[in-house]
């Protein structure tokens, strides 16, 4: 099982994500200019400020050759996890519903928050249980999850809301305290918290490992049944 972690110019957390993935499986970096994903089993679109994010977070990265390949990979059912800037990129690319708006405070916020697992029946959360509380840091300026009311209702009804900020922990004003969502096919997930920064108790928490462990287990299970 091999994770591929995208690297855009301006990515900041790609090495952290790579190291986090390697705690659970093999992992390699994928250069933004490459159209070939090199046969990886799951893709992580990492955090940072891809291409500087001067226009709008994630607006440029979605046009990169590697993202075109990721879109094909996702449409074929491959699992894709977008973290922070990666979540923004996946929304911009239309692979996830909704959008990320500037935080209510209009300030960057870096804070350890509690998030609750809402749906544990996905490739990203399968090693957790509904109601599990994970301590994971957020760090962003543009993390307020927004979608029209009708879309939110659909997301809730389809079980596409995977993570919610715990009561009183919403750091950015996200609607319905949404911290992470997936697509209808449940193979593309985006979240604002940084699970790659929560894989070691020494640096704060190991709770974020659930996402990487789940993805690794998902891929291993596919291989076993193939």
């Amino acid at each position: 099982m091999t994770f591929g972690v995208l690297r855009f110019p301006g990515s900041c957390d790609e090495v952290d994500a790579l190291l986090a993935c390697r705690r659970f499986a093999d992992a390699e970096l994928i250069w933004h200019g490459d159209r070939d994903l090199g046969g990886v089993d799951a893709v992580v679109v990492p955090g940072g400020f891809s291409y500087g994010d001067y226009l709008r977070a994630g607006a440029i990265a979605r046009f990169s050759p590697a993202m075109e390949a990721v879109a094909d990979f996702a449409h074929a059912g491959g699992p894709v996890l977008g973290i922070c800037n990666g979540f923004q990129v996946l929304c911009e690319a239309g692979l996830l519903p909704g959008a990320l708006l500037p935080n209510e405070s209009l300030r960057f916020v870096c804070r350890q928050v509690d998030v609750e697992v809402v749906n544990a029946d996905t490739p990203f959360t399968r090693t957790s249980r509904p109601g599990d509380v994970l301590s994971i840091p957020v760090k962003h300026t543009t993390g307020r999850y927004y979608a029209p009311g009708v879309t939110l209702e659909e997301l809730e009804a389809n079980g596409q809301v995977l993570l919610r900020y715990a009561a009183g922990q919403n750091p950015n004003g996200s609607l319905r305290n949404i911290a992470g969502v997936c697509n209808q096919g449940r193979n593309v997930m985006g979240l604002m918290p940084h699970p790659e920064h929560a894989v070691d108790p020494l640096t704060g928490s190991a709770d974020g490992g659930v996402l990487f462990a789940s993805l690794a287990a998902h891929v291993e299970a596919l291989v076993a049944t193939a």
Partner: protein, 724 residues
């Protein structure tokens, strides 16, 4: 606009102009005069401080690079070195805080990756006027945003820092940024140009008219009311450009492509090229027509002195140019060969074929006029008393709440939550979690961790420049000791007023003596630093503010204590040679008094105390260690309670202070509170047991009793309330 002679308008004295003529053997042309004015400015030449700085100890067993390189570096074992340096960006930030602070961070990052180290941490030391001033709220808010904008975007964590608010910084705020980088010892590179015929390559952003004359106009003269007109001399930062430049340079270094590397900072191409030539004892030819420009029609002199950001200069062998260009293209970094190394010993500037400037490198860099300070101890008071916030007779309950809610003591969460403190996966102790930031090196092939801190207290230095500077070193070393770290090296930024004034010269001289003596007593070498003079507004000079940054190493990050109380039942004790005194304290400030004089410090005793504290922490088992600083013992205890959301019951009578205000709020070097299991605390030599962790109140026997929630509201709410 001005009728001054050209050299005076550029900040040169008549005698300095004559010196230029003498060194050239002729009158300088306009380009040469512009270059000299910058190279001979205080900012580039340290002409008022260089002689003084020679007194600082610079050698130690861990030193790999000392002062003179882009950054200092110390050996942290396992084949790794840590590079670090602090630099000021005070005047740009006072004129335009967002870009001023942002480019301050950008500049210090370049200093560190210029020696081949990957930046792994930023710390900031900030000073503003009081938060009830609209100007100061604006400067603080936008400086923090600027620091965050640059550091967050480039993926380097801001792991610590400090902010103090005093009336003397109302006009002239201080923004000092420190960067810490990590490199393999065998991968570091120096800035000396070498190899006649080798190429000089400019990498990074295009060159524009921004920041022209920043070093001489902004950094080397006092601020005045017309400074908003100087906004165009402030540079604009582009962290994305720098991120690409950083990754590109590190890849070039990793492949061994470069002979030498230097960042472009103050005075742009002029200083970077002449310093590279000076260190390598060679000459350089530069063709400004090969420099990619941001706008058409720039004069050769403008190209030579532009301070456009995000540029680096390197020397390579001609045969490796295509390899360099290939790597630069991959990172989308512009690179142009703009000149070559010569044996002329001169910096020659060409515009195409035309020679437009020819200056001996020695005259630009080495043979610069240096001035002796003329220090004179002032007879009267230099600074007004601060406004009184509480009565001298206020009850201790009121004093504690006032202190916790004062901007100097209150939590700086408002600021540090705007910084990414965790990117890089090294941060074991985040801001306010412990007295120093702790960064693990396990992922880099290191066995332990480093601790970093940055400290200074201008008000105490104003009270006594010598002792105040000594205390800054001790405070920084104590913060390191609180996490078990042994200091390996020190960097400093000397923020002072106009050194041509005798009383400022006296402050500077005494403060440097204090730094020297403290460094010698602790055995900590100074590996680099920066001097920022002329920090004055219409109402006078800032408090003399030497800022000290230190890097230390510790063997086991997992056992690092925190500053919070963690477990009911833990025993609390005071350790270290601590004699509380109200002179120079925060309480005195709130009472509206600025002290003159501080109690003398016994450096030998303090050095022993620091070693004992470090050993106590390394011995293991201590859950909590927090030094006693601003606001004294009562504030230190309150902070540990608030951080841990748990109470404590203590009795200060074993300390024997007769005045409760002194016992509770007295300050001075040397003290730390510790907490842990009784078996651990009781065996610490010289520990004075004060009480226990537990409950939800902070009770100080016979003096105070507060709900921890109420203390938290004060401590955490004060700064956000200023922006409500």
């Amino acid at each position: 606009m001005s009728t001054l002679a050209p050299h005076r308008e550029l900040g040169l004295t008549d005698a300095e102009y004559d010196g230029i003529v003498e060194r050239l053997g002729r009158e300088p042309n306009g380009l040469e005069l512009a270059v000299f004015s910058l190279m001979w400015s205080e900012h580039c030449a340290y002409k008022h401080s260089k002689k003084l700085l020679r007194e600082l100890p610079t050698e130690g067993p861990a030193v790999v690079m000392g002062p003179g390189e882009n950054a200092g570096a110390v050996d942290v074992g396992d084949g790794l070195v840590v590079a670090f340096k602090v630099e000021s960006h005070n005047h740009p930030s006072a004129v335009e805080p967002f870009q001023g602070a942002a480019t301050g961070v950008g500049g210090i990052l370049r200093d560190v990756f210029a020696i081949g180290a990957r930046p792994i941490a930023v710390l900031d030391s900030l000073r503003f006027g009081e938060l009830d001033s609209e100007r100061s709220r604006f400067l603080f808010d936008w400086s923090v945003k600027g620091i965050g904008h640059y550091g967050n975007s480039i993926g380097v964590p801001t792991v610590g820092g400090e902010v103090l608010f005093e009336p003397s910084y109302e006009q002239n705020c201080l923004v000092n940024a420190m960067c810490v980088g990590l490199a393999r010892r065998d991968a570091t590179i120096r800035s000396a140009a070498s190899g006649v015929g080798n190429l000089l390559v400019l990498m990074g952003a295009r060159t524009g008219r921004d920041g022209i004359g920043g070093a001489s106009v902004l950094a080397s003269a006092e601020l005045s009311a017309e400074d908003s007109a100087k906004r165009p001399t402030v540079q604009i930062g582009d962290p994305f450009e720098e991120k690409k430049l950083l990754e590109c340079c590190l890849e070039l270094l990793d492949r061994g492509t470069l002979v030498a590397l230097q960042d472009l900072g103050a005075a742009g191409l002029s200083s970077s090229s002449s310093e590279m030539a000076s260190k390598g004892e060679v000459g350089l030819d530069i063709d400004v027509s090969k420099v990619p420009l941001r706008e058409a029609g720039m004069e050769p002199f403008e190209i030579m002195i532009s301070e456009s950001q995000e540029r680096m200069l390197c020397v390579i062998e001609p045969g490796r140019l295509s390899e360099l260009l290939e790597i630069c293209e991959r990172w989308e970094v512009r690179a142009n060969a703009i000149g070559s190394v010569t044996d002329t010993g001169a910096l020659r500037v060409f515009d195409g074929d035309e020679l437009v400037g020819d200056m001996p490198v020695a005259a630009l860099v080495d043979d610069v006029p240096l001035y002796d300070l003329e220090p004179e101890e002032p007879t009267g008071r230099l600074y007004p008393d601060p406004p009184a916030r509480i009565d001298a007779g206020a009850p201790v309950e009121r004093a504690l709440l006032a202190l916790l809610g004062s901007s100097n003591v209150a939590s700086k969460r408002f600021a540090f939550e705007q910084y990414d403190s965790i990117v890089g996966s090294r941060t074991v102790r985040r801001p306010e979690a412990a007295d120093a930031a702790v960064l693990q090196l396990a992922g880099d092939g290191g066995s332990g961790a480093i601790a970093v801190s940055i400290d200074g207290n201008g008000r105490r230095v104003a009270a006594d420049p010598y002792t105040g500077a000594v205390e800054a070193v001790l405070e920084c070393a104590r913060n390191l000791a609180c996490v078990g770290a042994e200091p390996l090296g020190l960097t400093n930024c000397l923020n002072f007023g106009n050194p041509e004034k005798p009383h400022i010269a006296w402050q500077l001289t005494r403060a440097v003596e204090g730094l020297r003596d403290a460094c010698l007593a602790l055995g900590v070498p100074v590996v680099g630093g920066n001097v920022s003079l002329y920090n004055e507004g219409a109402e006078g000079a800032i408090y003399p503010t030497p800022i000290v940054g230190m890097v230390g190493s510790l063997p086991d990050p997992a056992s690092t204590p925190v500053s919070a109380f963690t477990e009911p039942g833990h025993v609390i004790a005071l350790v270290g040679p601590f004699t509380p005194d109200l002179a120079g304290s925060e309480l005195e400030k709130l009472r509206g008094r600025l002290s003159t004089g501080l109690p003398p410090v016994d450096l030998a005793v303090q050095a022993e105390g620091l070693a004992a504290l470090r050993e106590a922490v390394r011995g293991g088992g201590l859950a909590t260690v927090h030094d006693v600083s601003e606001g004294g013992l009562a504030c230190a205890l309150a902070e540990s309670c608030v951080s841990g959301r748990v109470g404590a019951s203590v009795d200060l009578s074993p300390l024997g202070a007769s005045d409760p205000n002194v016992a509770l709020f007295g300050e001075g070097p040397g003290g730390a509170i510790v907490a842990g299991p009784a078996a651990v605390v009781d065996r610490l030599p010289g520990a004075v047991r004060l009480g226990d962790v537990g409950g939800d109140h902070l009770q100080i026997e016979g003096l105070l009793d507060f709900d921890v929630g109420a203390l938290a509201e004060r401590f955490e709410g004060a700064i956000p309330a200023a922006y409500a």
